[in-house]
Symmetry: C4
Subunit: 215 residues, 4 copies
Amino acid sequence: MKIGTSRVEAFSDGVIAIVITIMVLELKLPDIQKEASTRDILHHLTELAPYFVAYVFSFMMVGIFWTNHHHMFHLLEKTNEPLLGLNLFFLFWMSLIPFASGIMGANPWLPTSSAIYGFIMLMTTLSLTIMRIYTLKQGLIHKDEDQNLTYKIYTASLQGKTRSYIGTVAYLLAIPLAYVHILLAYLCFIIPPILFFIPHGIDDEKLAARIEEKN
Amino acid sequence: MKIGTSRVEAFSDGVIAIVITIMVLELKLPDIQKEASTRDILHHLTELAPYFVAYVFSFMMVGIFWTNHHHMFHLLEKTNEPLLGLNLFFLFWMSLIPFASGIMGANPWLPTSSAIYGFIMLMTTLSLTIMRIYTLKQGLIHKDEDQNLTYKIYTASLQGKTRSYIGTVAYLLAIPLAYVHILLAYLCFIIPPILFFIPHGIDDEKLAARIEEKN
Amino acid sequence: MKIGTSRVEAFSDGVIAIVITIMVLELKLPDIQKEASTRDILHHLTELAPYFVAYVFSFMMVGIFWTNHHHMFHLLEKTNEPLLGLNLFFLFWMSLIPFASGIMGANPWLPTSSAIYGFIMLMTTLSLTIMRIYTLKQGLIHKDEDQNLTYKIYTASLQGKTRSYIGTVAYLLAIPLAYVHILLAYLCFIIPPILFFIPHGIDDEKLAARIEEKN
Amino acid sequence: MKIGTSRVEAFSDGVIAIVITIMVLELKLPDIQKEASTRDILHHLTELAPYFVAYVFSFMMVGIFWTNHHHMFHLLEKTNEPLLGLNLFFLFWMSLIPFASGIMGANPWLPTSSAIYGFIMLMTTLSLTIMRIYTLKQGLIHKDEDQNLTYKIYTASLQGKTRSYIGTVAYLLAIPLAYVHILLAYLCFIIPPILFFIPHGIDDEKLAARIEEKN
């Protein structure tokens, strides 16, 4: 990790690692008796199915947020006090994902569950978007002697910002659409991960490694 | 992170990251049935509202404590054994914040809740204050060849100490005032965060980055 | 930690540390009364025994997975985006071990418990195997000027891959065998740890230290 | 952190940070009603008192174990595979401290509670002692060109070993003595922390900083 951003990254990693892991505590087989049969367990697992689907999806989303956060900080040269505050704001919304995931698991077909889930995801994405805009405006982005590298860093930052914008809009739409038809909300939910997995010209991980080498 | 303080910072970060995240486990929608309606969920959310407010406030406070801890350690050149002990004492009180937050959420208007919350916050602030005084007295603060930088480091340390004093007094007053009128206690609670967000001439984060560069 | 893989390792360590520790939350003495007698406690402990055995075994397995992950990443020179994804896939299955461990503790003699436990272990091992194959194919493995060291690194990578293959097969067999006789499944479960503890010519930890020195 | 031991230390820190923090989850005010009075809360707090005392003591002990682990690893030059195993064995027993602490809180005056608590502490101390002996025997201790520093490192290692021996004996005695008189067990429990806080000629933290500087 680079000097100047290392402890913020380490603390954020800690919080995100806990968020992604405590979600599994929602998966409980509640009333298993000593003398449970295979049928009992399968019955309980069936009941857990929506929690499980919510867990898989939320795990993937937290993983994507971590990757984005990881790449965004790699493009930075330094932090400042307001950025620490924005980062805590981002971690706050992130910490509510297990809560929203639990509501989704309990009532997957209820529009209000999707609205709550969408709202938490909206705020998480929005706070990341604000951080991206802030770092670009304040010139906290790494500037390199190598013009080509600097160009790539800015392109990556702008691409990240664009994808954050699209994600924000998708979650914003998901909330009212959940009350039109639940599947429309679900459709909105899968846009950001699809966007994330589409190759976008720049391998952020390679770029990050190249920036680290320079330091 | 600087050599000599790195593992203490890493361990403290771990503990603080867990403290800030497990508080979310207090937010539970207890009796959600499979067939819950939007009304049920909204009803449960309304009941959760005080827990939620307590969570938001406590998350912010833990974030502020982390930032202060982070900056304080950045100004240090080295640690010694008593400082490790004082740091554990600080982490101990910090670890009780989720407990105090839960009491606040359950009975937000009861003076005793505020008194307990105030007491935990008092002890956390007090232990940080003691650490600050100790590091100043023992000369553990970073001394730089650059006179100007050394001057800034001392100014930042002293400012941190002053704000810690004011925080200590605010929480000390909150405990008896909760029994006079609950809003007086709440007023005391918001003094330290307001103090934290008021600009105070020095950007601690920039200062920290400059000290790191020198090492 | 080496530049280029450090934050991925740190994040993975965080998740694995939480996985290994929250399993202990399954160990609860549920109805201890204030006036419990020694007999009551011993009775509760006896009831907890299968949870305890499951905890010991799962703790050992998570420890082994961590060691393997730790050594595998030490042999790498760099990461790329798909590897980040594969790593999250690995952490996902790992995060389900406490869940599977809880089912085993509740019904240790039920074939379905073993089948579920075997399935989670299978997927964890399989995702690690895929990562190993991927890093070998993509040439992410550290290449050293010292031919002898490069040779050792490849040998260690291939040995790791072979052991991952055997582990995958063992867990694959455990699932159907659990329904033939439960002890056959248990037999399969102990193959991977035995394999791990058998000396295999290369001290991965020494090798890792030598690679780190070079960087 | 020094190259060669850094990731083991980071992983151990993660586990220990979680162990020390999840103990607080035992502190629950179980049946607080919306309309609880000050009397209710004080009544609940009184009932929690033994849990609280157990928490304070266990927090201190985990803190001491962390400090000892931290100093022991600072004296090392390298790790090897068996040491990784011994470290996991140590972390395993450490992870059971919250469990033992919960039993103590529920039945503080029952000899069996003290016996269980003593046993977990015994095994934690014993596994640390074995690690110390192993690192001394295998020559994993840092050797410095500076004879004086090397001498101090060995003295610190041997002192650490002696204190570990005494701790092991104290916990070993605590188990049978709990059945003679509970206070005798408690007496044994406070020997190791007293030993820890007695100054012993060497400031391990300063020594650790000096070793780090050399690397």
